[in-house]
């Protein structure tokens, strides 16, 4: 490759990635050379400004057509833009949470790393959203995973944090290896790593039963490896421990940004490769249609297991880990019931989930930091200590439970309608979803009872730091706005991204 081809690429389409990369590099240098006594907290604001600039540059790119550069390894299509927007907003909120984070023993000299590792993780997730090649997908996935391993173990002197990071590395490593093994078969049979060419090769080979069998094997391995990342049952065992042991901003990052990235890579691989490939010798049904039962099983088990096990948790972060497993199940319902509205439903649900979950984690971080314990009983009497905070948390919980008037309800409704509208309708999954939602009321409203009806252990007023306050207000505004007027988000989606027509082109 000579300089002319290198310069002929439209690098402007990678501007958001370059900005995040530059800010991460800048922060790591600043962290290295600033004097030891300097308070690293201000680095968070640089990170935040970097993310906001990246958002602005992404909005500038919204009108541009679908482009692919670097030999089709990087493609900026509407799918990439829509999900990148979610990732960036989520990361900005997480950085705000991290700015206000103050564990018992302090973060000391690691505070700088804390901020730029979020950015490298975000960069990995962004690369994944717009990659058209197995190699870039894999590198993005690993950039995100390795950053998250370190982030989970950021509280070096805390045994819980160490243990969480170790469990995450081991589980993440196994899942990576399984995914890669599946990918190696995908590459080997089709002879290319480019997703588009691969899809063409696969459709041509599928008439041969032997190839079909091996592609089925690869499909299962990739699906199982990725469902570790999504924390969907029965591959969810790591999630409660890691969520509980990690610093709270990292838990928020894992539950929002990392999960979004997991769904992005799942959609990229599964839809691009297996949607057009015929699923049997008769060539009538596509591979995904004949095998969607396995995704449905994952979805159903996640919803039931997540909601039922959450009932008996006393630790608030552990409870939210199980609740996030259940939410992964809801989104998987949309993917297994593949229809015209799947992308819309997944995108909207991830947006709503981002807002309500980050808002909830902001309050959780504030309460657990001030009481140095993570028991649900710490929320007792929150209403008397800080009525506004309690009201905000109540809205987030109502949204997570899916009560009308909140974004969570609209998200669930979209998925529900999508499951019923496809032909054949997914009635079993839809009923499991409703049953799971009803079960979830018990533990969500358990927190509400604590907040509003139990006497507080201390009557001390709670002081809300600026970062946490900003996240709560933003999440609250979004949750209510998209709950009352969901069309603001859906219209934005349709006007700017159409119906993701360029996803497969």
């Amino acid at each position: 490759m000579n300089l002319d081809t290198l310069l002929s690429y439209e690098w402007g389409h990678m501007a958001p990635e370059f900005i995040i990369l530059a800010v991460a590099a800048l922060l790591s240098l600043l962290d290295l050379f600033l004097p030891k006594s300097y308070n690293r907290r201000s680095l968070a604001w640089i990170a935040l400004v970097g993310i906001l600039v990246a958002v602005v540059s992404l909005i500038g790119l919204l009108d541009s057509k679908s482009v692919s550069i670097l030999h089709d390894t990087f493609r900026l299509d509407s799918f990439g833009k829509a999900f990148k927007l979610i990732l960036l907003i989520g990361a900005a909120c997480v950085i705000l949470l991290a700015e206000s984070y103050e564990p018992k023993e302090g973060l000391k000299e690691y505070r700088g790393e804390f901020y730029y590792l979020f950015l490298t993780g975000l960069l990995g997730a962004m690369v994944m959203t717009s990659s058209g090649d197995l190699i870039t997908l894999f590198v993005g996935l690993e950039l995100l995973s390795i950053s998250s391993y370190i982030l989970a173990g950021m509280r070096k002197k805390n045994p819980g944090s160490n243990e969480a990071a170790m469990k995450y590395v081991i589980n993440g490593g196994i899942s990576t290896a399984i995914t890669l093994f599946g990918m190696s078969y995908l590459y080997g049979l089709s002879g290319t790593t480019n997703l588009k060419e691969m899809s063409g090769a696969m459709s041509a080979q599928a008439a041969n039963g032997q190839f079909l069998y091996l592609y089925g094997l690869a499909f299962f391995m990739v699906l199982i490896g990725l469902s570790f990342k999504l924390a969907s049952a029965p591959f969810h065992m790591w999630a409660p421990d890691v969520y509980q042991g990690s610093p709270t901003p990292v838990t928020a990052f894992l539950s929002v940004v990392s999960k979004t990235a997991g769904f992005v890579i799942l959609l990229r691989i599964i839809l691009t490769l297996f949607l057009t490939m015929p699923g049997d010798d008769t060539q009538k049904l596509s591979f995904l249609e004949t095998h969607s039962i396995y995704i449905s099983c994952l979805a159903g088990i996640s919803i039931i297991a997540g909601n039922v096990i959450a009932l008996r948790q006393r630790n608030i972060k552990r409870m939210f880990a199980y609740s996030s497993i259940a939410h992964a199940g809801y989104i998987l319902v949309a993917i297994s019931a593949l229809g015209y509205f799947t992308f819309d439903a997944v995108w909207f649900y991830l947006l709503a989930y981002l807002l309500m979950n980050l808002g909830a984690f902001a309050v959780i971080q504030l309460i657990t930091d001030s009481s140095h314990s993570e028991d649900i009983a710490d929320f007792a009497g929150l209403y008397r200590r800080s009525p506004l905070l309690a009201a905000g948390f109540a809205v987030f919980i109502l949204s997570l439970a899916g009560i009308p008037g909140t974004a969570g309800f609209i998200g669930k409704l979209n998925i529900f309608m999508n499951a019923l509208m496809t032909d054949p309708g997914h009635f079993v999954l839809a009923s499991i979803m409703i049953a799971g939602t009803v079960i979830s009321y018990f533990y969500y409203f358990g927190i509400m009872t604590q907040m509003f009806f139990r006497p507080a252990a201390s009557t001390e007023k709670i002081k809300v730091p600026a970062g946490i306050g900003a996240v709560v207000v933003l999440a609250l505004a979004g949750t209510i706005l998209f709950g009352v007027a969901p069309n603001t988000a859906l219209d934005f989606l349709h006007n700017n991204f159409g119906s993701f027509n360029d996803f497969l082109k």
Binding site: G172, F181, Y187, G188, L189
Partner: protein, 104 residues
């Protein structure tokens, strides 16, 4: 050289992968678990290189993919061992079954 068929390489990789998976799921010592994960990743490399030379559609990108896999696996192992070191400093154990604080 070319007398070894593709299927032999694939079976070797599959056996290595299964040994690695078994080790990662059953061994007590966290170092052995990390080594088992490396074994699984190396099975993938064998697959990639074998496919890129002898596969139904041979191409160079498999070898490039395996270079990326090797690099990333090294980074992952480094991070894993670093985390294990900091865990060992606090708890004086590398046994996976003693890492059971986070349950309640």
């Amino acid at each position: 050289m070319n007398s070894v068929p593709l299927s032999a390489y694939l079976v070797l990789a599959l056996i290595l992968f299964c040994i690695g998976l078994y080790g990662a799921l059953t061994k007590r010592n966290a170092v052995i678990v990390l080594i088992s994960i490396e074994l699984m990743l190396n099975a993938v490399n064998i697959n990639l290189v074998a496919f890129s030379k002898l596969g139904p559609a041979p191409s160079i990108s498999g070898q490039i993919f395996s270079l990326f896999t090797i690099t990333v696996a090294a980074a992952e192992a480094a991070v894993g061992l670093a985390i294990l070191m900091s865990l060992y400093n606090r708890r004086k154990t590398v046994n996976v079954d003693e890492m059971d604080q986070l349950k309640h």
